[in-house]
Amino acid sequence: MNNDKIAMALKPAGHWERHLPLAIGMGLFLLPLLGIPVKTYLTLTIAGLAMGMLLFLVASGVSIIFGLMDVINFAHGALFTWGAYVGFSIFRLLNKWVDAESVLQNVGAFTIAVVAAMVVVAFLGVVLERVIVRRVYGSHLFQILITFGSTIVLVELIRVLWGPNDEVMPVPLRFQGNWDVMDVIVLRYPIVCILMGLAVYALIQLVLKRTKLGTIVRAGVEDLDMVQAMGHNIFLLLTGVFAVGAALAALGGLAMAMFTLQVYPDMGSTYLLFAFIVVIIGGLGSVTGSLVGALIVGLAYNYVAYLIPWAAAGVNILIMIVILLIRPTGLFPVGK
């Protein structure tokens, strides 16, 4: 009898049940076509997907850190900014490669900037977790206060090291410009962002689903005590996860600075708000949820900014409220 119940539970949902959320999603995705010309719609969609992927890079770190460690990391925005500034310095250092016509040199400069930003910020993440965050596990109030304090320190350090002014972010030459695809202007860099976001998503999924370490991390999201009672050093695991989350924030910061063509010390706080919206929509601890949430936020922001510019900033808050009312745990909840 129990086996029958399980067989019922394991039976795939019906055709309609399975495809209804996707159908609703596609319907909403195509809805702006009613008020936007097709070519503009395609341009906005690419921009929205790119913005979504950039937000995904930031939000996935927030989501993994919260999902596994139950830590609300307000310093994530500052780590994001550090990533942007480290990349900025590398581009200045390699300015000949950045301005070169050679694709190889452009990609080389970009790769070095990405690796440097991720390594430096991952190290900052390790220090932050070991010195500060570890002391406040289990207390959200203290986490908010102490990571907010860390943000102030990290941002002030940026002002000391790089100065307080806005700077123009250099972008490798071949990452600039656009392609004309059947009279639709397709900017190059947003396509790079979309591909980068998809690659990061695939890599995270590969590690989480296909490696033992990833399986342990997913188990830890559900029951950290049980994971350590099974012989796994969760302290090492938590530090590692925090470092990976910080590195993702750095990648997001660098990529976003190249998208907006500027770096400034307070840039993190703007995108941290978006990241939290994405994570709440997607479901805490879920990487797929972060991706879907980020794409919803990116697309909605771009469509609404074109149709009703004054409502652009509020639309994502509205989406978040609606989703929270329907599914308080987000679109892809991860059980605790």
Binding site: N2, N3, K5, I6, A9, L10, K212, T215, I216, R218, A219, V221, E222, D223, D225, M226, V227, Q228, A229, M230, G231, H232, N233, I234, F235, V334, G335
Partner: protein, 246 residues
């Protein structure tokens, strides 16, 4: 005399401000199943969580094969060869049965593969639902998975907290069979309120009350002691659902 595998010596444990264990002492010896029994809130689960390190002890010592473990972290204690099955089973619901087992395996060598085969032979349903999400299993199957995870490593001491909780009598019978097989390879410390299960697998017992051990002895002796059973387990002869003398 049997080797003392686990020695708990005058252990005190607090949860918040509450002084739960107040000098608990007991031993688990090789080739035996030691049962901790007592009313709700007596400190049985706290004792197991203190042994595995999930609750810090404030006083006393815990020794595993003569080595102190009470200052170690839970993962270090688990690596000493101590398996733990908590009261809530601790199943990772979003992971498949296979993934639950993989998380449990500290090394994946030939010996572990052999133990896995032995475990799956014991709990056939786990093989049947190997790729199913653990959250979709029945209560009994989840309990089997929880025990399987704890014995897939080279476990010398198995701590099991109320495995019969919420399970149907027929499932409890298969649990009794399983624990009787496990005791051939590992020393078992069992927290159990179901007297039928406790007496079917247990060799020695300790009764806990208000955070201290108030009585100990061999299981056969307790089966005939109606007064103790009535006072500390809240069961009388009339309530015995199995109708036999226990």
């Amino acid at each position: 005399m049997n080797e003392i595998v686990l020695a708990v010596e005058g252990v005190h444990t607090f949860i918040g401000r509450h002084h739960i264990l107040q000098g608990v002492s007991f031993e688990a010896t090789a080739d035996n199943v030691t049962v901790l029994i007592g009313r709700n809130g007596a400190g049985k689960s706290t004792a197991l969580r203190s042994i595995i390190g999930l609750l810090p002890t404030s006083e006393g010592r815990i020794l595993h094969r003569g080595r102190e473990i009470h200052k170690k972290k839970p993962y270090q204690i688990a690596r000493e060869g101590i398996g733990f099955v908590p009261e809530h089973m601790g199943i990772f619901s979003n992971l498949t049965v296979e993934e639950n087992m993989r998380v449990a395996m500290l090394v994946e060598d030939a010996a572990t593969a052999h133990r896995l085969e032995r475990t799956l032979a014991m709990f056939g349903d786990l093989r049947k639902f190997w790729t199913a999400k653990a959250g979709n299993l029945s209560g009994g199957q989840k309990q089997m998975l929880a025990i399987a995870r704890a014995i897939v490593n080279d476990t010398s001491l198995l701590l099991v907290d109320e495995p019969s909780k919420g399970l149907a009598p027929i499932i409890i019978e298969s649990l009794i069979d399983a624990i009787n097989q496990i005791k051939e390879h590992s020393v078992v410390v069992l927290v159990e309120q179901n007297f039928h299960l406790a007496s079917s697998v247990g060799d020695q017992y300790y009764i806990l009350d208000d955070g201290t051990v108030v009585q100990k002895g061999v299981m056969e002796g307790l089966a005939g002691n109606q007064e103790l059973k009535s006072r500390y387990l809240g069961i009388s002869k009339a309530e015995n659902p199995f109708g036999n003398e226990q």
